[in-house]
Subunit: 266 residues, 2 copies
């Protein structure tokens, strides 16, 4: 029986109840994190909780209770007996009265789930989608429940025969993949779009900047066409090479040395 | 005891369970409508269901079952004994596996709720917020569960001492209020931003275009400053005059003749 953590306790997943008046359900009013567990231990939990706290701050949500979440993560992993897991932590504003105005005193909802981690996906065949990321929105820099644009971006890519989406921002600069940051290799240089271009401050991204000398630089679509390698980075996917973009080979059309170096650096 | 409709039946609100794996909760993957009931009857239900069907089409969701929803609305109103109601209809992609990719065969979740309609709000003291609406996003023309930007817009307005938000789009054109369309009077002309400027195709808006000769025209912030009247329109609020904008009186600083004419035209 699959178990999850709801608010303050473990509960069978099929008994766990989200209130239909939860603002997470009604208005996407909340934040979440996804992360890996390896050998039963969450990876970079502190970094994920710090980012979640920043996101909660942007929304004016109470700060996520880090100690309680750490306990929840450990218990969910143990209860389900999953050592190699994909974890998700969700923190919403909880139940509120009708309308947009939040309740005076929010009683947030906390959900922590663990599922078996899928094997790494094959190298990506990506396409540049028409949907543009809004670099002007405070939501572009936090991981909020308003994740529908990412769903649509992937859907558009899949409808075109690809399996990953590259999103530009409203200014036409490169932003991110459907659910991950981008790193581009040009010769020996490794580049990633700056936060101001509308990208989420990825934890894998930050690590590659610190450990591998990846440099923040605004990129245009032409930079992708000329790239020797393109990598999608994220806490679950880790490093996913993009081998074709809009039907054409990226570099040699196979995973390259930067993909290997990035994976080794994590 | 408050009752709501969940999927295919009436249920006590405090027993109704949204699955924590519902994509409406996890990813804002769904659409909704809010509308009035008067004397126990929903107003413009067909128009709302048509808009919901268009939104579902944009997301690739199964079409909302109109007959079932009509029954649900009637039963929710009757069961709660509310004649003057605010109704909400929510239609999500339902439970799915982990990740962004939707399930092959979606089993959508339907929720219909009714609550006592609040008395009309006082005339609005609005402020132009920094958050910009993304007119490039397909989400700007549908009423999706990714409603968090609207929450943030209202929050920003309230933090500044106002009670309504005016959003510009990324090009700096006037878009909408936190949860309603805008109509602006200049002399005898009534103007409303065109759909291409990133506004929801409001049902009240459409009616005012048809019955009152409101004309679609792109508006800049200066048009608001010079407006004789500004109205927020919506199915719940109907017509709400904006009497101050960014701390300055709009026109005479009191509800004007266009507000009255608009209300009479509905």
């Amino acid at each position: 029986m699959s178990m999850l953590w709801l608010d303050d306790r473990l509960i069978a997943a099929d008994e766990a109840r989200i209130d239909p008046a939860d603002r997470g359900f009604l208005l996407a009013d909340g934040v979440f994190e996804t992360l890996r567990a390896e050998r039963g231990r969450p990876i970079d939990l502190d970094e994920h909780l710090a980012r979640m706290a920043r996101g909660a701050g942007v929304l004016g949500l109470p700060e996520p209770p880090r100690a309680r979440i750490a306990v929840a993560v450990a218990q969910v992993l143990a209860a389900n007996g999953i050592a190699e897991a994909a974890l998700r932590i969700t923190w919403t504003r909880g139940v509120g009265p009708r309308g947009l105005a939040p309740p005076v005193e929010a009683r947030p909802t906390l959900v922590v789930t663990a599922s078996e981690r899928a094997s790494p996906p094959p190298p990506a065949r990506a396409t540049t989608v028409t949907l543009r990321r809004n670099e002007h929105s405070p939501l572009s820099s936090i991981k909020s429940l308003a994740y529908l644009e990412q769903v649509l971006a992937l859907r558009e890519a899949v409808a075109g025969g690809a399996d990953e989406a590259i999103l530009l921002n409203t200014a036409g600069r490169v932003a991110c993949a459907s659910a991950g940051n981008l790193v581009v290799r040009q010769g020996e240089r490794l580049l990633t779009p700056p936060l101001g271009d509308g990208v989420l401050p990825g934890i894998t991204r930050a690590r590659l900047i610190a450990r591998l000398g990846v440099v923040e630089a605004s990129l245009g679509p032409a930079d992708l066409v000329q790239a020797a390698e393109i990598l999608v980075t994220g806490s679950l996917v880790r490093i996913r090479p993009v081998v074709t973009l809009d039907g054409r080979a990226v570099g040699l059309g196979t995973p390259g040395p930067a993909a290997e170096r990035a994976l080794a650096a994590l």
